[in-house]
Subunit: 326 residues, 2 copies
């Protein structure tokens, strides 16, 4: 049993705080993908909800606890999905939400944050600049800073996915998880290691944003000077030490994948599963694509964690000659 | 309370026979669609399952009852979704499935029927020719003929969607339903009229395949000589009298929509909800698009009933100049 910062009792309690629209999401085998991948593929779909990503599970817990405590404001940095989810959860509970994002974040995500009534502040630089600015805003205004993956609500909210996987009737022996800040990976990983320890937990980052993968391998925080990936949802440079500690306890492996594999994963999901996904959500399949031998004959579960993508880019990535062959 | 052929007690019992992978599907408000439609839009998503349509709900009931009765074979005519679902349900219960389809049916659907191990027979002509051939096969072989919309399992299976809508926490005052053979419309309609009679039930057919709509308006069966629509899943010519009787009891209105509205609906669902849908699944939104005034300010629920579509055609329909404006 891993001694992470997470607690399975609290994870079960979190389910009571989360709007049911985010819970008990589809989990189904997608056989049409399998001839291309050489293993059984089971999809946990986190996109069929009002914010089109799994982040609502965590923000529901945060906003619920804030409202109960009479706190009326919160700020976060976000590549887009956390901000959108926090805007949704805050709006229903009368909590003012400020989101700080990089000017270069995905337009579709920024538009939705604004539409949901949050205050959106754009900064130059990347997601790490947004994190700094959000922290400074929170300090100056004396309001709650929500830090993705560091704050336990985000991890334990995401962990409810793990609980649903463990309680499904679908058998699987491997789970492949997108690894960004670490909330999804440590959350789902914690539950699996505690309740289904036979399942191998494989986390996946883009080669163009490998800081947490490198950190996991060297068992110490490694930062990078820049990121270069289309997987905007997982492109961090400064891993959080406490999250790395948890990841070391729950991940059996952390692998890195190429951009073309991420695109190939998106293409497969579109053409053989009928799913529009954002690049981060294709990381799991990308890992299988890059190492079919490793996964051959296994039953893999992957979390399709978001579908907030600029459609023009998605169309570019998934069309063309390769699409006809995929 | 409508005196249809359906029974709410049996509908609840049907839920016990259906693999949970087809039940309790996502139902969520999709605000990003709303500025384009002028009403609240709530999506009941029936595509995130192993056969990518709602038809599994009915075929699970059929295959379950057949297996219990020791019957090992069944044949059906299908435009593709029923056949795929029956193939899936039969396979898990050792029931041999034969599907008869038109040679011009959607390739993606036919491929999946074969992949699921069913015997597929293709006939010249349209869906009505397939229905004739399936009936003759069943007679000659002495096996069960499953007739979509006529056989109560298909209606009562689909009706479980209605039960889930009624038991959700999301408020809605109008439901717009694709109308093909009538199983979905009479199933969901029956439950709504019995348990939520304040909800207006609007059924939608394509102008190019209007037989059941015309029949509903004239209160007698009207057939057509041909069909001409991209909505392959709802393109029948010979309405079933018993189904028409039920439809007369549960539908408040039946409207007809143009092909360009169906395409506009698919485009909106792709670009603003991130959903790939087959043409039939866009009929509900097409009805709103054609009569915004009628639905203005309402809260509409629509069943996204399938996503089995040839992706090249989908790409053609949803791309181009209009997509950038939608």
């Amino acid at each position: 049993m891993p001694r992470t910062r997470l607690d399975t009792g609290r994870i079960l309690a979190a389910r009571q705080l989360i709007d049911p629209v985010f819970l008990d999401t589809p989990f189904y085998r997608c056989e049409a993908l399998e001839p291309r991948l050489g293993c059984a593929v089971n999809i946990k779909l986190e996109t069929a909800n009002p914010v089109r990503s799994f982040k609502g599970r965590g923000t529901e817990v945060v906003a619920s606890l804030l409202a109960d405590a009479g706190r009326r404001a919160v700020v976060c940095a976000s590549a887009g999905n956390l901000g959108q989810a926090l805007a949704w959860s805050g709006r229903t509970r009368g909590v003012d939400v400020t989101v700080v994002a990089s000017r270069s974040a995905t337009t579709a995500k920024l538009d939705r944050i604004r539409a949901l009534g949050a205050t959106l502040e754009l900064v130059d630089g990347d997601h790490e600049s947004a994190r700094e600015r959000a922290a400074s805003l929170a300090r100056n205004a004396g309001i709650r800073l929500l830090e993705d993956s560091l704050d336990l609500e985000t991890c334990e909210g995401a962990a409810t996915i793990g609980w649903e996987l463990v309680n499904s009737r679908l058998p699987f022996d491997t789970v492949v998880l997108a690894l960004g800040g670490g909330a999804l990976a440590t959350g789902v990983g914690h539950v699996l290691k505690e309740l289904a320890p036979h399942v191998e937990v494989v986390c996946v980052q883009a080669l163009g944003a490998p800081a947490l993968a490198h950190s996991w391998r060297r068992r110490r925080v490694v930062t990078t000077a820049s990121t270069d990936t289309i997987a905007d949802g997982v492109a961090g440079r400064f891993p959080i030490p406490a999250v790395l500690e948890d990841l070391l306890l729950v991940a059996d492996d952390v692998v890195l994948v190429r951009e073309e594999s991420i695109v190939a994963g998106m293409r497969l999901l579109l053409h053989h599963a009928g799913l529009v996904v954002e690049p981060s959500a294709a990381l799991g399949l990308a890992a299988v694509i890059e190492d079919r031998d490793r996964f051959a004959g296994r039953s893999v579960a992957t979390v399709v964690c978001g579908s907030n993508v600029d459609m023009a880019a998605h169309r570019r990535w998934t069309g063309g000659a390769q699409a006809r062959e995929c």
